[in-house]
Symmetry: C2
Subunit: 209 residues, 2 copies
């Protein structure tokens, strides 16, 4: 195996093992055995386990960014349908694995945010990047008239992100895709509403109050 | 220390340590040192660490049930205000700890649901119990006319639960209460809407389509 391949194999294996077993529960030996790489190689590439963990996290985040670009960048769909398609695609992937592994960024936030400031900082930066992608898409929906002009898209993007993470967490404990389907139904049916509904509501509020 | 006290001390200490460090990252020795209890005592009460973990989880769930009963049982408030007060009280408690520890049931769902079927089953049962408490409160709101009569309160209760867990997770990585405040604002501003808004929306839909 070439040097580049060895490093990439370690990171890909780490991604799978951390998703399946968590970070603290995955010893370096477990990863080396799964990757079929001798111990010395690990320390050639990574000074400590944390450095390895952060690179695995970056690898996971890269994959999500590519999915964002593919779904949210598809201008053949209206902006809110792009976001919905993103969630639905992840839904299919999670269901194919019985909702077992969840999201590595969510998992490590629960497990590591309070254990390591290096992890917490990186996790938070990734989450903020995701929130910004959502907000960008919601802003386009607002500009095209699919969301109310007075909606604070950054705040709503944060709600999308945290509720999405919660749905993935619930799906993991329930081992069922239902919490994720519920998230999609209620997000697009109640929160990301067309402006005429909001207008009617505010008119009614003026009349009644 | 009496036998009953020793067991209770171990469970209280386990609750604190698991919240702070996670389950896999907390050895029995760490808990015994923190509790000031000799090792033999641990195995007198608990055959294995998992049995201890499940009892700690039950202890945490009991505390949440007591908070539910106090807030959701307060008939001096309208039903949706009871639920809002519950979320706001937890918000204050989390903020007082810089949002560090999160929710033990959410944390262990991420860490243990895929590692131990005993944990997953117990976590899911606790979550379902919480969802039923939310649904009960939403049903009262529906009966008193504060929610639309055709709303499926069990589905919306599941959304409340998963979005709430997601907000706690995000607060942990962000080390900020903002995701939780956003959750409360959007849940009560967009999802748990008074029925006249929904009525107007459906009238509008009939007219337009």
């Amino acid at each position: 195996m070439s040097k580049e391949n060895t490093k990439a194999t370690l990171i890909e294996t780490g991604l799978r093992v951390f998703l399946e077993r968590g970070y603290n529960n995955s010893g370096i030996d477990t990863i080396l055995n799964a990757a079929g790489v001798p111990k010395g190689s690990f320390y050639y590439y990574f000074a400590i386990k944390e450095e390895f963990g952060l690179q695995v996290l970056d690898r996971f985040a890269e994959e999500i960014q590519a999915n964002f670009s593919r779904c949210l960048g598809d201008t053949s769909l209206p902006p809110l349908d792009r976001l919905k398609r993103y969630f639905e695609e992840v839904c299919v992937r999670l269901e194919s694995r019985q909702c077992r592994n969840g999201c590595l960024v969510g998992n490590l936030s629960q497990e590591m945010a309070d254990q390591s400031e290096a992890f917490r900082g990186r996790l938070e930066a990734i989450f903020e990047g995701w929130r910004d992608r959502y907000a960008e898409c919601l802003k386009i929906a607002q500009d095209t008239g699919d969301l109310p002009p007075d909606m604070d898209v950054r705040v709503v993007a944060e709600f999308c992100l945290s509720s999405w993470q919660g749905a993935i967490l619930r799906a993991k404990a329930a081992r069922s895709i239902e919490p994720i389907r519920t998230f999609i139904t209620i997000l697009f049916g109640h929160v990301l509403q067309a402006p005429e509904k909001t207008l009617l509501m505010s008119q009614r509020n003026e009349v009644s109050g």
